[in-house]
Every structure is written in structure tokens, then in C-alpha cells.
Amino acid sequence: MTAPALPALRRTPLRRLAGVDRLAAAGAVLLGIIVLAALLAPWIAPYPDDGGSATHPLEALLPPSGAHWFGTDQVGRDVFSRVLFGARTSLLIAVAVLAISGVIGVVLGVVAGYAGGWARDVIMRVTDVFLAFPALLLSLALAVVLQPSVTTVIVAIAVTWWPWYARLTASVAASVATRGFVDAARCLGVPAPLIVLRHVLPNSLTPVLVQLSLDGGGVILTAAALSYLGLGAHEPTSEWGLMVQQGQTLFTTDWWVVTFPGLAILATAFAFNVLGEGLRARLSR
């Protein structure tokens, strides 16, 4: 989520961004609120136990009211509290996927870009293979054969996500590797690993970081879809996709059970996408 996005933000202060793009600023604010909600969920949720394993079947399916802003679900849990706790699950998945696939992608990408030759060919052909699968499809196949859990979701998505970063980093690293200061280092006899670490890597990171911040929305949507298909988080974990799946038979009668978690997914993905778009526009200028 924000871990990769933050450094970029620091370089582009919010106020300046806001001047350029109100939509991106709105996204940043929205995302901030969601992150805060996730961090503070145990303290701000009206019924923190409902985010976990509490159930109150006698209060099942109460419509939204002062006591339950978003109503209650089929076993009487406060939907608002579960939506707040669900933010933790979603953001955790997003951070983990982006971190894992970012690291794998950058490492392989830098190697491919700097080394060139057959190493580059092998790595690029492997990414070709992975990129031939739409992300959701391969994650789906993986999630079916692994036991459904949050970890499975993270692994399944990360497996399909890293090739993008590998490609991006490889192309940037390849151009960095031809720059003067790298040549200079090479002439001075600096060993290759050190050149990669000191010079190529730091100078190849920025586009990947921007790309990572752009992809948060995609990860959250994919994770929600996997959970919706029953391949991800399971009860009693608060997870938005799972909440939609569990409540979908109630849509016509008790709309609030499905509507609010769906809106939460929408809002989070929207915040990521808008912010990422703004960042990209800003940095590519």
C-alpha cells in the first residue's frame, strides 16, 4: 500500500500535487483515511469483537441504525466494524503482494538489465510465460490447488505480479548500465555486484516505485475476487470479498450486508488508482 508510495509522496508534497490535480489529492486523502481506519480499527470500531470471532445470532440482519451504522450481518455482527477490520486484511494483502513481487521483480530485473546476454534472455522468456496468463486466471488456478487462506492469496497474486516489475526494472537498468558513471566505476575495477548495488539499483528504482503505487488497486480487486470465489480468507476473518460472497443471497432483502463491503473495495481501489495516476502524471512531466 503506502510503503512503496510514501517516498514518492515525500518528493511531491501533497500541496503541490493538490494544486495540479484535485482528483489525485482526493485520492490521497481517501487513502489516508482508509489507512488510518485500518490502523485504528480496534479502537474506533463500535464493536471491535465483531471484527473477529464474536457472533450475536439473535441480532441478525438488523437494518442500519444509530447503533449499527451499516446494519448487522447474518449472524448479527456489526457490518461497520467488520468493514473497518476488513481494511486491515485488504491493505495487508496489498502491502505483502507489492513487497514480495516488487523485491523479486527488481532483483531479477536488475540482473537481467545489467548482465544482458543469456541471463537477460532466460529471465525475459520466463516473464513472457507468466505474462501470458491474465493475473486473476493464474492466481485462480493456484488458489484452487493450495488451501484457501490469506497467505494463499498473497502467494497466488505475487506469483503473477512480479514479472511486470522485472520487465520494467530490466529496461531501466539496461539504460542505466550504459551511463557514464557505471562505465567509470567499471573502469576503476569496482566489482560487478557492487556496481549493481551502488549504482544501477538505486537509479532504477523510481519507475518501479511509481508502478507499485499504481498497482495497489489492482491487487486489492484481485484479492477481493479470490476471496469472493471462496479461495481466499475464510471465516471469521473480516475480508470484504468474503463478506460480499457470504451476503450475496441477501442482496434483495438485506442490501446493507453486501453494499458496504463492496463500497469499501471500490473506495480503496479508487483511492489507489487515482493517487497512482496523479503520481505518474506528475513524475512523467
Partner: protein, 338 residues
């Protein structure tokens, strides 16, 4: 040209080989025993042994992989565990319906996305621009399964404007049987002049196609806008303005065509994505396509079927990309030198 063709073909084959290996690897991770699953719980030891021989499960992994590839090439995609039919037949039956749905969705996406993108570019920074950007961002951020449920509840169940589920009114099979040529219901109904089925199919198509169209429409609108803005700041646009063309004319007459390059480049990309996105939508609308088949397969832990779907979509994607590159190579000699 032949050298380029061979090289590009070789690359594609390599990727397809990789796709097969990857699919094979994923499916071999399955905890269950395919022989037991196939032979069924009533199987005797002999039947089980026969199933193991049939699947070659006693062979070393590389041999199994080789057998898998050989079977695929012979058109044997395995037997689905839940339909008990060859996966290939199942796929041939389900795929046209998915194609119909995604095709309709892409048409909607282009028809809506490009004009919206033009409008946004024309009024850059003003209200139309902001609202187009906002709505396109929402369109790419909305979880499709949720949107499908919402539209179904509101427009089919609540307002009754559209049918709830299915591809067309099944009772029409009796009153106006459909001759199949492409296996795509809407297309076949159109070419055989079967109006009852055509209208029924189209009305069933609206909601699921709209849901699937959300993402590509959003992307197309954004890309059109961005490309137009870039294009209209180029020299030729300045010249056109100097010649007295209005802003709208500059955009639509001169800038639009070159700006559509990147937009169309998206279509191929978005196609495969939409097919998979359609998986989630088909389940809700009970659309008899790949998605429903995949969803059923998931609930039945039907690994041959899941492998089949995965492979089909991935290979389709690779082949389409290859075809594009080759045709492009014919048109533009520079490409071959790449």
C-alpha cells in the same frame, strides 16, 4: 522476412511451451490423486491401476509432462471430473458464449469510452473532464462481482427492465430452434434470421456486458483523453488552429486518428483480461460460458477442467499476440529488424 517469421514463431512456441509446463506444474501440486478422482470411489484396485496407467501416474515426472504435451497435441485435454466429458468438448461449448459476452462488452466499451475521452480532452480541466475522469476511475476500481450483483438486483429484479439470468429464453429452443454455425448464439441467430432468439439473447446480454464493459470503458476513456491531449499539443495541431479550425475540429478531425493508436493497443490486452473478469460475472448471471464452467470446476476441484480453461485463455492470448506481430511484420519492414 522468413527469418523474422521463424524467430517470432520460435519465441511464441517457447512461451506456449512454458505456459504448458507452468500449467502442468500447478496441476501437479494438487493434493488429490487424479486416478482416484477419475476412477471414482467405487473403483476396484484393478480399475484404479488401469486409471493410473491411463494417466501414466507411475511414470517419472518428465515422462508425465511429455505425455501431457503429446495428449494436448492430439487434442486430448483430459476428462472433466464434474461433467465426465472431454474437457476439449466442454471448452468448445462454453467458449463461444464467453466470446459473445466479452465481444459485446468490448463494443460497448469502445462506443462509450472514445466519445467520453474526446469530451474530456475537449473540455480539459473543466467539469466534463473531471466527471469523465472521475467516472472512468470508478469504472476501473469497481469490483465486478459486486457491480454484477447490484445491477442484477436493481435493473433485473427491482425494475424488471432486463432478464435476470441465462443466455436466452430456453423455451425458444422449442419454438424457434437455432442452427449453429459459429456456436455464438447472437451471431448465429443474426445470420439465420432467427429474430426471437436474437432479441432474447440481446436483452439477456445487456446487464452482464455492461458490467464487463466497465473496466475497458474506463481504460479506453482515460487513454483516449491522454493521447488526445498529447496529440493536440503537437505542431500539426498548432498549424490547424492557425488555419482557423475550431478546437473540436482539431481534436476529432486531426488528433483523434493518431491518438487512437495506443487506445487500440489496449483492446488486445484488455480482451484476455475481460474474459477472466467475465468469470466472476458469468457466475452471477448464470451465463453458460467459460466462467460458469470455471466456477463449477472450482467447486468440484476439477483440476483437468481448470487446467483446460487456464491453458485455453493463455494460449489464445499468445497466439493473438503472435498473429499481430506477424501481420505487423508484413506491413512494416522495420519491425523485422528489431
Amino acid at each position: 522476412m522468413p527469418r523474422y517469421l521463424i524467430r517470432r514463431l520460435g519465441q511464441a512456441l517457447l512461451v506456449v511451451a512454458g505456459v504448458i509446463v507452468l500449467t502442468f506444474a500447478v496441476m501437479r501440486l494438487v493434493p488429490g490423486d487424479p486416478a482416484v478422482a477419475y476412477a471414482g470411489p467405487k473403483a476396484t484396485a484393478a480399475e484404479l491401476a488401469e486409471a493410473r496407467r491411463r494417466f501414466g501416474l507411475d511414470d517419472p515426472l518428465p515422462v508425465q509432462l511429455w505425455n501431457y504435451v503429446r495428449d494436448l497435441l492430439h487434442g486430448d485435454w483430459g476428462i472433466s471430473l464434474h461433467t465426465r466429458q472431454p474437457v476439449r468438448d466442454d471448452l468448445f461449448q462454453a467458449f463461444p458464449a464467453s466470446l459473445e459476452l466479452v465481444g459485446a462488452a468490448l463494443i460497448i466499451a469502445v462506443a462509450a469510452g472514445i466519445p467520453l475521452g474526446v469530451a474530456a480532452a475537449r473540455y480539459k480541466g473543466r467539469l466534463p473532464d473531471l466527471s469523465v475522469r472521475l467516472s472512468s476511475m470508478l469504472a476501473v476500481s469497481v469490483p465486478v462481482f459486486w457491480l454484477a450483483l447490484a445491477l442484477q438486483t436493481v435493473f433485473a429484479s427491482g425494475l424488471g427492465w432486463f432478464p435476470v439470468a441465462g443466455e436466452y429464453d430456453a423455451s425458444l429452443d422449442r419454438t424457434s430452434p437455432l442452427h449453429l454455425y459459429t456456436n455464438i448464439t447472437a451471431v448465429d441467430a443474426l445470420i439465420t434470421g432467427n429474430w426471437p432468439i436474437l432479441t432474447s439473447t440481446l436483452s439477456h446480454l445487456v446487464l452482464p456486458a455492461l458490467v464487463i464493459a466497465a473496466y475497458p470503458a474506463g481504460v479506453v476513456a482515460q487513454m483516449t483523453r491522454a493521447a488526445l491531449i498529447e496529440e493536440s499539443s503537437r505542431d500539426h495541431a498548432r498549424l490547424e488552429r492557425a488555419l482557423g479550425f475550431g478546437e473540436t475540429a482539431v481534436l476529432t478531425r486531426f488528433a483523434l486518428r493518431p491518438a487512437l493508436n495506443p487506445v487500440l493497443s489496449l483492446i488486445a490486452l484488455v480482451f484476455a483480461y475481460s474474459i477472466v473478469n467475465g468469470f466472476l460475472v458469468e457466475a452471477v448471471f448464470n451465463w453458460p460460458g467459460l466462467g460458469r464452467y470455471a466456477a463449477d470446476s472450482i467447486r468440484s476441484l476439477d483440476t483437468p477442467a481448470i487446467a483446460g480453461v487456464t491453458l485455453l485463455v493463455a494460449v489464445l492470448y499468445v497466439v493473438a499476440n503472435l498473429a499481430v506481430d506477424l501481420l505487423q511484420g508484413v506491413v512494416d519492414p522495420r519491425v523485422r529488424a528489431r
